[in-house]
């Protein structure tokens, strides 16, 4: 790992011009990521940024980090493989609510229980943006879309409660209503030694509902810090997380005050232990040869 040095937000901005719709919340998220990475100060080539498929999943391409725009719903398995193969990399994963909680919904639980040091940012717009406005797992009940013309009958997934319930050590929420706050939250998530989840309310201006646009979000936003919430209190975090969809609480819901060892660290430890009693490389073949 190289020593950290001075970087500016612009050092993480690639030459690729975003093709998101003008006004899309994802523009703010990429800005938040540039600022957070600059604050951390790891050179771009030491950052691996993995995403799935969706409008939001285009995000790695707009950074100078190594990026992999993978397959729909599969950002997390690939990010885990990358982190385990090269634990020195700073690994970020990102995608949409559909990518993370529909098709990829099964992966997050396993990443959480393994506690691999990856920061996962979901750009939650309560819709499938890329495929033109179908119902997503976080869409509100009653929502009319092209796939729910009479209104959805399903309750939404609550990404905050979901990740807290599985035992994530760091769970936070941000939004473009406060870019500086978003950058600080992403920075804190990256610095957390273990799996960290940041749900960003990132409005889709094309298929999203009026109430989910920035002005609507401002009206329901509340800072967890100003509410006096203690991020070490997991039960209080779960209580607050229940208001997902009605209130937009911004800040850190939960930060494990005593982060347990990460899977990547345990693997290294095990490698060291096992290598002590292991045969020297040149005698490995002996294991397969009957004497």
């Amino acid at each position: 790992m190289s020593a950290t040095c001075e970087f500016q937000a612009k050092d993480y901005k690639s030459d690729l011009k975003p093709i998101w719709c003008p006004g899309c919340g994802d523009y703010s998220v990429v800005q938040g990521i540039y600022r957070a990475l600059a604050a951390i100060g790891r050179p771009p080539h030491e950052v691996a940024f993995i995403s799935g498929i969706g409008c939001s999943s285009r995000i790695p391409g707009y950074t100078t980090a190594y990026g992999f725009n993978t397959v729909h719903g599969r950002a997390l398995p690939i990010a885990q493989g990358i982190k385990l193969a090269n634990p020195d990399l700073l690994v970020l994963a990102a995608g949409g609510d559909g990518d993370g909680f529909s098709i990829g919904g099964g992966h997050i639980a396993h990443l959480i229980r393994r506690n691999i040091d990856i920061t996962y940012i979901v750009m939650d717009n309560q819709i499938y943006g890329l495929t033109k406005g179908q119902l997503s797992p976080t869409s509100q009940k009653g929502r009319t879309t092209c796939t729910s013309p009479y209104g959805s009958l399903e309750n939404p997934v609550n990404p905050l409660l979901y990740t807290l319930a599985y035992g994530a050590g760091f769970v936070a929420q941000a939004s473009p209503t406060d870019l500086a706050g978003m950058a600080a939250i992403i920075e804190e998530a990256i610095r957390y030694p273990g799996f960290a989840f940041v749900n960003v309310q990132s409005p889709c201006v094309t298929y999203g509902e009026e109430a989910q646009q920035i002005k609507g979000l401002k009206a329901i936003s509340a800072s967890l810090k100003e509410l006096g919430h203690d991020p070490a209190d997991r039960l209080a975090a779960m209580d607050l997380a229940q208001h997902y969809g009605e209130k937009m609480h911004l800040g850190v819901f939960y930060r494990n005050p005593e982060p347990p060892p990460t899977y990547d660290a345990l693997i290294r430890e095990r490698q060291v232990q096992l290598s002590q009693g292991a045969l020297p490389k040149e005698r490995i073949l002996d294991l397969f040869i009957k004497k």
């Binding site: 703010s28 406060d178 002005k215």
Partner: protein, 173 residues
């Protein structure tokens, strides 16, 4: 808009630095919007946003020079994290194919927002020089509003059509 500033203890140096950061932020947002408009083939709005970016850069430069004359290169103690969207339009103000009128209205709303910021801060300010600066900045925002309004007045009358007028109804199958 979120501001994390202790107005009561704000010094003139910090106030000038914050004013520069506010202009920088607005300049960057307008540049971003102009790039989004270029990308989505909306050249007139792009041109207007670029003009706004140039204006914000000019004001920022003037304020930075004043700061330099008064305080030289004394280190800056305020940060960008203390301000947010004071004069910059909200992220979702840009739209593909927005008309120059819509672009100007977005800019006008931001100038009004900035004026409100300086007005709201005034009662908390203790330092007379900082107060004078904030009053000056407040008045400048009013001037900027007048400039944008003058540009708006030069536009041909609105067609009165809304975005919905351009949406195709579902075709009978």
């Amino acid at each position: 808009m979120a501001a994390r500033i202790d107005f009561a203890s704000l010094t003139l140096k910090d106030a000038l630095d914050l004013a520069v950061l506010i202009e920088d932020e607005a300049k960057e947002r307008y540049e971003d919007f102009a790039a989004q408009m270029d990308q989505h083939r909306t050249p007139e709005a792009a041109k207007f946003f670029r003009l706004m970016a140039v204006n914000e850069a000019k004001h920022g430069q003037e304020l930075a020079e004043r700061r330099g004359q008064l305080f030289g290169d004394a280190p800056r103690t305020v940060t960008r994290a203390q301000i947010f969207d004071v004069e910059a339009p909200d992220f979702d103000e840009a739209r593909a194919f927005m008309s120059p009128r819509q672009a100007m209205k977005a800019a006008l709303a931001s100038e009004v927002k900035a004026q409100a910021f300086f007005v709201a801060a005034l009662p908390a300010l203790k330092d007379a020089k900082v107060r004078a600066l904030f009053e000056e900045l407040r008045d400048e925002e009013v001037e900027h509003q007048a400039l944008v309004k003058a540009e708006l007045a030069k536009l041909p009358p609105d067609s009165g059509l809304s975005d919905d007028d351009f949406v195709d109804e579902p075709a009978a199958q």
